[in-house]
């Protein structure tokens, strides 16, 4: 595979088409994906594909337009450029519109990230299939109470992107990712429970199939016999996977766009105490162990470490070039897009809490009774990043005398995100990088409402 030079050449060609008084940016991406699904010892499906695409942003007369196409053919790219130019005529002018200039990129050192594994590209389909089949087998074998595996699979992708703009800023990034995952069914028809397990890395050697299988089986089996407990207030221990999801929601509310447009619980709160003193929240895409690690953001600006909450105080919010200018701040290198189909927004890539000193076992031993939240559902419908209202469905277990006790189901926990941040009692020492834009760790929140029977 090429080293992304061809993508950069194409991006440069598009950006070079800028007319007088126009700024033009091209984002060109190429993705190669494999998806394997197995069921009952057979390959259910094997999909292989590459997707190329371009997104063009044109700023002209203070107005912005965007167009994209799922093709890198010359005539399609030219048509996309013309369409973006035409679209720009219909927006309203905004003094802060503008592309990233070399000055916006700032004086930061560009992270030297090694997140591309060439060897993943030469792995045969048979080897990938073998991983998925082995994972399914191991999940079934992990516990006699596992009665089936709803799905097991293997996924990988190799993503290359280039950005170039008419102000002379350009960059290329590339990364590989692979993962295997299983979803176990335990128990009988009368009382089924489910659990998932996965393992992820940059290449095949990073994957731990037995670990993923063990997790899927254990997380399903330990919920067998779950009942609905009575409603009450109690401390809550979040599994690292759940903490990861909570951090992702906080990350969205800490994005410049949400804050500037009044759609965040953090509006006008910079410098204020927003969390317990033990909470320090950082986004750092320059950490190679983070799955969201990348050297440049999707406007071509180098990424960097940003402390968002420092010792409980709101220290910073994340910006791209536009929100940074509008907020009289600088970009934090946090421009992000959902592929070539959208213009850059703002997002965290490697969000994590600075770990505390206690292990998960020590945290559980620190409370007489608590609810251990293994997984949540309805997180997006039940969380309002503007009002902070928080109410989600929970599967988990009670914690008694420092250990996991009986499983519970059909319950919700509720609070507000503001309250939860202030009620963080313990941040675990078990920082774990997980796929997505955030890491997880065990978290103890002092007081929440559990609704049940």
């Amino acid at each position: 595979m090429a080293d992304g030079r061809d993508l950069l050449d194409l991006a440069r060609r598009v950006a070079g088409g800028a007319r007088d008084g126009e700024q033009v940016e091209a984002y060109v991406a190429r993705t190669h994906d494999t998806e394997v699904r197995v069921f009952d010892g057979d390959v259910e499906s094997l999909s292989v594909a590459g997707v190329d695409g371009v997104g063009v942003r044109v700023i002209s007369g203070g107005r912005q337009g965007y167009a994209w196409a799922g093709s890198l053919d010359r005539d399609v790219v030219d048509e996309t450029m013309a369409e973006a130019r035409d679209n720009a005529a219909f927006g309203e002018p905004d003094e802060w519109y503008g592309l990233a200039s070399p000055a916006d990129a700032g004086e930061v050192d560009v992270a030297d990230l090694d997140v591309w594994r060439e060897d993943l590209l030469s792995v045969t389909a048979d080897e990938k299939v073998a991983i998925a089949l082995e994972l399914e087998r191991a999940t079934r074998a992990a516990d006699v109470r596992v009665r089936g595996v709803e799905h097991a699979g293997y996924d990988d992708s190799a993503i290359e992107a280039a950005v170039a703009n008419s102000l002379g800023l350009e960059s290329t990034t590339r990364r590989t990712l692979c993962s295997c995952s299983a979803f176990a069914l335990a128990g009988d028809d009368a009382a089924t429970q489910t659990g998932s397990g996965f393992s992820a890395g940059r290449t095949l050697a990073d994957l731990d199939v037995d670990d993923a299988a063990g997790d899927a089986a254990e997380r399903a089996v330990r919920l067998l016999g779950a009942a609905q407990p009575p409603s009450r207030r109690l401390p809550v221990v979040f599994d690292p996977l759940v903490t990861r999801s909570l951090l992702a929601i906080l990350g969205a509310a800490l994005g410049g766009e949400a804050v500037l447009k009044g759609r965040s619980m953090f509006v006008d709160r910079e410098g204020e105490e927003v969390a317990a003193p033990g909470v320090t929240l950082v986004d750092d895409p320059t950490l190679p162990e983070a799955f969201g690690a990348v050297s440049h953001d999707s406007e071509g600006v180098p990424t960097r470490r940003t402390e968002l909450i420092a010792g409980g105080r709101l220290a910073a919010i994340l910006h791209n070039v536009y929100t940074g200018r509008r907020a009289s701040a600088a970009t934090t290198g946090s421009a992000a897009r959902g592929g070539f189909k959208s213009a850059p927004g703002v997002a965290a890539r490697a969000l994590h809490l600075v770990p505390g000193s206690r292990s998960p076992a020590e945290i559980m031993a620190s409370v007489p009774e608590a609810l251990y939240v293994q997984s949540v559902s309805g997180l997006h419908s039940g969380t309002n990043p503007v009002s902070g209202d928080f109410s989600v469905g929970v599967e988990g277990l009670m914690v008694r005398d420092g250990a996991l006790a009986e499983p519970v189901r059909e319950i919700t926990i509720a609070s507000t995100l503001q309250r939860m941040l202030l009620d963080v009692d313990q941040v675990g020492s078990d920082l774990t990088w997980l796929p997505g834009g955030a890491a997880g760790m065990t978290l103890l929140v002092g007081d929440m409402m559990m609704s049940g029977a």
């Binding site: 399609v76 489910t194 309805g378």
Partner: protein
């Protein structure tokens, strides 16, 4: 999009190494959107995507490959890759000569999106913004968007099927933020239809905006939601998504076959209150989940899933129907040509009953009246679901009283179906995007005003 002879040769190439079935799915999609935020038309965005996926099925294994190159060379490369992924061998299948099926759309589309000037689309945004902001000073932020898409698809398979469809969808979205003494609240309203710009013949952007603004303002005065089990009355339209999640997914044949549905092996059994008749209907004209053919070329159908409380049938795609030697039900869908099809819902709704909606509230001494539900999620293997209520009120002594803050509803699908104890004579539907295994497709869900005798409400207040 692709010449018939090329399709025929591509299918033959796909089956060259053996296999039971081959299919070419081609798609040409154009979309455009316009967004207003912070009192400003931010930008217009347009996109174009074109490509084809080739599927080869051999025994239990499906191989899939896709390409953005619709020339014969591109298609034959995809066919070879799909054949290799299906792992060759097995039976030898000949491609039956293609015969085009007539297209019978559920309704006609009048104003194709590409024939409407961009300035007209952008103008709708400002109407909505003005209307929302003039509702009250407390409306501090308004976001409005307009989106349209035209999706032309072609399906050809080794059984000789050749079918095409042209699917046009238009949607309008308004979100408001209201600020008051109690903090901030948001609310949204997002109507959409499977038609073109004629959506706005009888949809006033200002009305949509006022609905969203009023909802946000109402929620400003909301008190903490109660918690625990209680009766919940779902206003017409608002609760359809609950039945989509709580039982619709469990009636998808792929999940049933994998033992991942609580409704497995229960056809002919009573699974719901006798008041419940649940239908999935891809032919429902203009609805968000309507189409002429599914993404396997099969005509859309009206399928009765639960009749008078008795489970009558599941929903089927080609693969699952073939295994059980039964007809497909027109539910094989995929997000784009980059995805494999699977069993999906279309427009899923509960049929109206006999009760006056006002009487349903009057006969509820204490509970929750839910006027809008946000998204939800279900675990089909256990039947457990959750939903966010985005507009809800207390019912006290048979009357709707104060609004309550956003909270989740949690319950179990089969149990909730049994606990439906009143069904109104009104009806409403809501458009949405249904996600399954990472693929999103447009669907609608509907129901009359109805009551579930008991659901768990996940608020912060005791009792």
């Amino acid at each position: 999009m692709i010449d018939e002879a090329v399709l025929q040769r591509t299918l033959a190439a796909a089956l060259e190494r053996g296999g039971d079935f081959a299919e070419v799915f081609a798609e040409d999609r154009r979309s455009s959107s316009a967004r207003l935020d912070d009192a400003k038309v931010e930008e217009l965005l347009s996109g174009r995507e074109r490509g084809a996926g080739v599927r080869v099925v051999r025994d239990e294994t499906t191989g899939y490959a896709h390409t953005a190159d619709l020339t014969e060379r591109g298609l034959s490369a995809a066919a070879e890759a799909a054949a290799a992924a299906a792992r060759g061998g097995g039976s030898t299948t000949n491609v039956v000569a293609l015969e085009e099926r007539p297209r019978r759309p559920p309704h006609e589309v009048r104003d194709l999106p590409e024939t409407i000037e961009k300035a007209r689309k952008a103008a709708l945004l400002e109407q909505a913004d003005n209307a929302a902001r003039s509702e009250a000073d407390a409306i501090r932020q308004v976001s409005v968007s307009y989106t349209d898409s035209r999706r032309r698809i072609l399906v050809a398979n080794s059984d000789g099927l050749l079918a095409r469809d042209d699917q046009v969808r238009t949607r309008f979205f308004v979100q408001c933020v209201a600020v008051g003494d109690t903090g901030m609240q948001t609310a949204m309203e997002a109507p959409g239809r499977t038609i073109g710009f004629e959506l706005f013949d009888d949809l006033d952007p200002a009305d949509v905006a006022r609905t969203a603004a009023t909802r946000a303002l109402t929620m400003l005065g909301a008190r903490p939601s109660p918690s625990g089990r209680m009766p919940v009355v779902l206003e017409r339209g608002a609760g359809g998504v609950l039945f989509h999640e709580a039982c619709g997914h469990g009636l998808e044949a792929d999940l049933v076959a994998k033992d991942a549905s609580v409704f497995r092996g229960r056809r002919g059994e009573e699974v719901a209150s006798p008041l419940v008749t649940l239908v999935d209907d891809g032919t429902l004209a203009r609805e968000w989940g309507a189409y002429a053919i599914d993404d396997e070329g099969e005509p859309a159908q009206r399928n009765v899933l639960i009749e008078g409380g008795v489970l009558t049938d599941y929903m089927w795609d080609r693969l699952r129907a073939r295994k059980e030697s039964r007809p497909q039900s027109g539910n094989g869908r995929r997000e784009t040509y980059q995805h494999l099809p699977m069993v999906r819902m279309t427009n899923t709704y509960l049929l109206p009953g006999d009760d006056d909606p006002a009487d349903i509230v009057r006969s509820t001494p204490h509970g929750i009246y839910c006027a809008q539900l946000g998204g939800g999620q279900v675990n089909t293997a256990t039947g457990d679901f959750v939903f966010g209520m985005t507009e809800a009120y207390l019912i006290e002594d048979g009357e709707i009283t104060e609004p309550v803050r956003a909270a989740n509803l949690i319950g179990n699908g089969p149990e909730t179906l049994r606990l439906v104890d009143a069904v109104g004579n009104d009806f409403g539907t809501w458009p949405g995007t249904c996600g399954k295994q990472g693929q999103g497709v447009p669907v609608s869900a509907g129901q009359p005003t109805l009551r579930v005798a008991e659901l768990t409400v996940g608020g912060t207040a005791d009792g």
